[in-house]
Symmetry: D3
Subunit: 289 residues, 6 copies
Amino acid sequence: MSRTMMDETFLNPLLVARAVDAALDEDLGRAGDITSAATLPAGAMARAVMRARRLGIVAGLPVAIAAFRRLGPELWIEERAHDGARVEAGDALIVVEGSAHAILGAERVALNFASHLSGIATATAAFAAKIAHTRAKIVCTRKTTPGLRVLEKHAVRSGGGANHRFGLDDAVLIKDNHIAVSGGIGPALRAAKSAVGHLVKIEIEVDGLDQLDEVLREGADAVLLDNFEPETLAEAVRRVGGRMPTEASGGITLDRAAAIAETGVDLLSSGWITHSAPSLDIGLDIEMG
Amino acid sequence: MSRTMMDETFLNPLLVARAVDAALDEDLGRAGDITSAATLPAGAMARAVMRARRLGIVAGLPVAIAAFRRLGPELWIEERAHDGARVEAGDALIVVEGSAHAILGAERVALNFASHLSGIATATAAFAAKIAHTRAKIVCTRKTTPGLRVLEKHAVRSGGGANHRFGLDDAVLIKDNHIAVSGGIGPALRAAKSAVGHLVKIEIEVDGLDQLDEVLREGADAVLLDNFEPETLAEAVRRVGGRMPTEASGGITLDRAAAIAETGVDLLSSGWITHSAPSLDIGLDIEMG
Amino acid sequence: MSRTMMDETFLNPLLVARAVDAALDEDLGRAGDITSAATLPAGAMARAVMRARRLGIVAGLPVAIAAFRRLGPELWIEERAHDGARVEAGDALIVVEGSAHAILGAERVALNFASHLSGIATATAAFAAKIAHTRAKIVCTRKTTPGLRVLEKHAVRSGGGANHRFGLDDAVLIKDNHIAVSGGIGPALRAAKSAVGHLVKIEIEVDGLDQLDEVLREGADAVLLDNFEPETLAEAVRRVGGRMPTEASGGITLDRAAAIAETGVDLLSSGWITHSAPSLDIGLDIEMG
Amino acid sequence: MSRTMMDETFLNPLLVARAVDAALDEDLGRAGDITSAATLPAGAMARAVMRARRLGIVAGLPVAIAAFRRLGPELWIEERAHDGARVEAGDALIVVEGSAHAILGAERVALNFASHLSGIATATAAFAAKIAHTRAKIVCTRKTTPGLRVLEKHAVRSGGGANHRFGLDDAVLIKDNHIAVSGGIGPALRAAKSAVGHLVKIEIEVDGLDQLDEVLREGADAVLLDNFEPETLAEAVRRVGGRMPTEASGGITLDRAAAIAETGVDLLSSGWITHSAPSLDIGLDIEMG
Amino acid sequence: MSRTMMDETFLNPLLVARAVDAALDEDLGRAGDITSAATLPAGAMARAVMRARRLGIVAGLPVAIAAFRRLGPELWIEERAHDGARVEAGDALIVVEGSAHAILGAERVALNFASHLSGIATATAAFAAKIAHTRAKIVCTRKTTPGLRVLEKHAVRSGGGANHRFGLDDAVLIKDNHIAVSGGIGPALRAAKSAVGHLVKIEIEVDGLDQLDEVLREGADAVLLDNFEPETLAEAVRRVGGRMPTEASGGITLDRAAAIAETGVDLLSSGWITHSAPSLDIGLDIEMG
Amino acid sequence: MSRTMMDETFLNPLLVARAVDAALDEDLGRAGDITSAATLPAGAMARAVMRARRLGIVAGLPVAIAAFRRLGPELWIEERAHDGARVEAGDALIVVEGSAHAILGAERVALNFASHLSGIATATAAFAAKIAHTRAKIVCTRKTTPGLRVLEKHAVRSGGGANHRFGLDDAVLIKDNHIAVSGGIGPALRAAKSAVGHLVKIEIEVDGLDQLDEVLREGADAVLLDNFEPETLAEAVRRVGGRMPTEASGGITLDRAAAIAETGVDLLSSGWITHSAPSLDIGLDIEMG
């Protein structure tokens, strides 16, 4: 990981380095890049420019750089854009110079990270644009690609979104099943409050205004309003009256985002931005030395 | 990994087990499922049914089962569908019974694997349907999600597609940069043939009919026709005359797939089916005991 | 990990299994238990009883069991006490029967986990007893033994304490250096609120009543009152007036705990209970078969 | 690991690097140091001085340095004290300058290693001082904190103690159970001698003078005199007459150490110095740039 | 791994680095090089020359260098020979200068890699010399030392041999059991062709001319002629007529190699060169500074 | 690892399990056994008999079994011979029944372990036979195959040999370089004795009778007589007079073994038995169900 990335955002750099290693191992297999080994002269040099081929928001450039760096510790690398930047087709993102074997060996891994994460940032930004006139924010969920959650959370922030839980352990989110087994909203909230430490927030999911009223009586750190129609959502926001953040989930599409955000809700949570965002087209133009 | 999965398909079961562990670690973090720990009674039992919520082709069910099994070795699990099956909204895929803590702890990981991989299978099947009247097959690329390549390759097969290289090391694919540095198609092919073992295939990318003619003179195991328009592609296929498999790449969209396949080309390769396929909506209905 | 442990408490069972493996590897080295291999007949059977040799609160029994189970999958094991139980010298905690090689091979690792974690639980319980007449709770810190944090956090809960952050990533705790660099309490709190997600709590450390007043104006999720004398602490608690949890830190000794807790503060945080608690004396009595 | 540490002491530097990584992972979690990320400007610089806050013997400074180095490869670090040095409250141990994000991200891990290991060194030194007028040495046992044995063994040496076995595999230690099953001291010793290689030492535990006589008849590399009162111990030492090292164990407290050492025994083994030594108070004073 | 090695040959450098780490861990154990720590002064410097003590072909020098580099990042290292070079007794292969602790700590691991891999290269070269007057090549098999396959494949290439499959997943090799279960050569070949991707080659083993004829009718990418006598082999080669590579296996000894190669077969496969080649005697002459 | 193996010999079972996993990963790659997947029906059953094809001493059967078990937890496996047994060509070693996919997937790994380790056991036994009329034993060295040391040490014991050090950390072996730098034999031995714990043995290498005399004056736990001719060796043994074990090294060949052993030396150490022993031919006969 570049130092820059860790400094400016929330990521354990050791986790990121392991993700890069896993991806390189997956691509290099046992024998490595046999095409380059067979066809390039030893010591061949190259210059490569990673470019956006579509308009979008970039994310994951430090991860791409880490992939090049891992195979070519002596590569000269320049970052031409930063995560979160809006780029247009043709814009240079990264320039790499040095061993052609290292550049070609890491090329696909670097591109796969950058295009996947930029796709998420771009999708998030599209949502953010739809609701920019409101006070609401777009947040991601735990519906992420297995193994890439920390990077995808970062991509969401790069796109102007905010993060929900990173995992099951960093906040309580009480859902319908927990409520049912605990004997209701009151018992569930009281059980959670007595069990967790003072720095753990508790959010609870409700599916109607009656449940919301019960939550407001008991108190919670946030409430998730699941599958509320806009008008009911507006009423829910009114009832909450700013006492806790309100989050709308279920059926949050680009088409409906503005209407939902205009109810005054604080957060719109979308699984789509992480599990279904198309990747951003990014390529590597290589000039062999 | 269930034994079944390994037997019927191409996967290193140890790799798959590690992917499951990595995903569970990512979701459980240090403290694990604190919501369930706080709100469920010790020993609570549950019955859960994983169901498709949209029509599609499923893939990754054995991976989802492995996730449940990892946290709940004593869970009773029934597989109601098999990878590659076409399911409709509401169809049961997996039934799990036992410890509610284990089921809820593994729920999101199991769903993330199943919906991501089923999304790829479904996208692949859509392509396959478009070209079913031809002899062409849809194949995937190395544009996969970092860390999940083996599973995504499996999902492509589940959707009726075929696999391209699993990594840089299992076949030679000579691209424009390799050709340029080697001094042309002839030198590149000859270098590759002399360097690799007798069980490694060599494919070469060409961007025009002139290059193709040179490949035909030199001989190769396959030729990749990059960004050919359908009419030129048809001419290329004619010139190859069955001497080697022909693969079309570049701009392979659902809309254009039929026209491209009708040129007689053997393979259509698509990065989209792995890097941009939307996930299939799959949920878990839980009845607490 | 036994299922029981995961169900009833907050722990990622995969992390715990790795801690057990690391400890066994450390003790077995390359050649394993060469004394038993040299002196015990193949197939020797034994019965072992793990017993407390001092009065205390036990913790880590499931970890000890996991160590035995790892080397002897077929051992018969009975848990005679549960984490959090008060035991007296001579009380049986675990009974194990089966392969003498497996029991002796895992003995020291099992005892090291159980006595270390029970020491922490016992120390925590001593604090908890001192303040039982107040509303305050004893909480641990991040001053834990490297590599054992999740288990030590569990031991604290077993002893009647509560947990603070598990790591740098699950809550914000703004200290003097952060305040200094950010330009003051107001800018620091506002920066934190705008940067983190809605499920992340923010606590801030203050070292005097002036700083506290500023925190109360800005709002926070908790306030850490560092090195306050009891009388100032009482005034601080009065000023907070229940608007947020108050935590006292610095110089929290068994002798001073009651006086501090009687100020009305919510939490007393102690590094001592994890970094300096003496281990509880626990032994294994073995009868060879 | 710094080169220095490996050169001067007994440690596998790869093991130490893994211990540092494990501790950093444990503290950074998925999202890393979110407080610093939220409140510090990108590129903020700092100067930090790690200081002893109590008199003691330091150990683990190279490990603390390795933690800073891991997150901040470009930090400027100066070691002001060396493992084994006696320091007083206020003495500087390490000075670090550079990225504030790196320093604060590694701070707690660095301190946890240094204070834990220095606590062990300090406790060992206290024992060593009590017996300095005799020929006896204080030695540690396998009653170490799981996962930290190599570092704790190093801390014992830093405090003036000596090491016992590092694990079950590097020497034979025949205890009562082995004797019972083997059919007595003679058969046990003979079995061990015939089974192990010529570079493996054999020690045997005895609980009375009769057993000792049998050991002297059979021959061994060392004898462990368990729970002997000082007068019996003196007699045992007399009987051994220098033919093999004698080790006293059981009830070795600071109060009793001198009396035991004065019997002429060679070694006093103490689990307390590793499993129950209170940590040494060490802090980090930070000046933000 | 040195960059050079990856550039010029087929290897995943991450795998190689892990092999080096595993070997160092195995040799250093927990406590490291206790002899050097006990007897060398801190900061001792040395100069070491790795020399061949027998005539042979060297391989694995970059791996040996990686071992030195891992323990001594600041060592000055010069490579005096290259993998694949023919060396005589006394020839210098590598010169290393710097920390004596680092050099002695890595010495045995570096020598074990170099002498094992050079042994394989030398054995391979002996075969290659026997058949140099023919068009045949010597190829290795999957009968390699567990854990070292990629390095052993590299050693075979260094000795002038070629590589067969790296594992079960990179080509199809249909053997007698597969044929039996599939219902014959035709069904087996057809099943394989329909199952695998277009870049996977298919070889099939036959044990007689009848089976060969069937393979020729069906078509395959290569044919393995198992345990054919030279005269039958010559007939087989004649029947194949260049339509696919022919590989002879079974009883390929140095004595018989020329006769077999003179049949016109393309490949002679030998397990012996990897599983039974004696190591090449290589030593390290050290001058302490 | 089977329980049996751990019980009867010296091995850390967790290390062995990792060696098996590494070997399977190496052979299965990403896609697994594609030949079996393509040609065997799902659910195909088989019966396989692992047989010696040459006379020899077997070792590693529990490792081979562990490989089968890892891919086929439900296989029925019978061990027909035990490590250390003398077998003749055709003797059954292991019988396995169950999933043909699991058996074929693990076949090569199981055979590679068994034939490599049995080769070492057989070579060791050949030495042991040559010196059976003397009191000497054959011992191995650290010249082992990287990554397989613990298993190779076990194979040596299976063949009737004894083990030398497992690594640099479990005993001191002072060589010429250490002596030179320390200022002579006396200083080196004294430095070692003062540095290491009471359970670490110290051996020293001498290259002449003068050095030996100095060692006898200083005292050591063993002496290595390097490259002594038989007559000098006999004189050395006479001078030692049983005061410490004597070890002959350098030029220990099968031809010279008896003459060397007849000098009365205790140990003959041979690198050849681990680094150059040809593998024992072992095959797997499979009957498909």
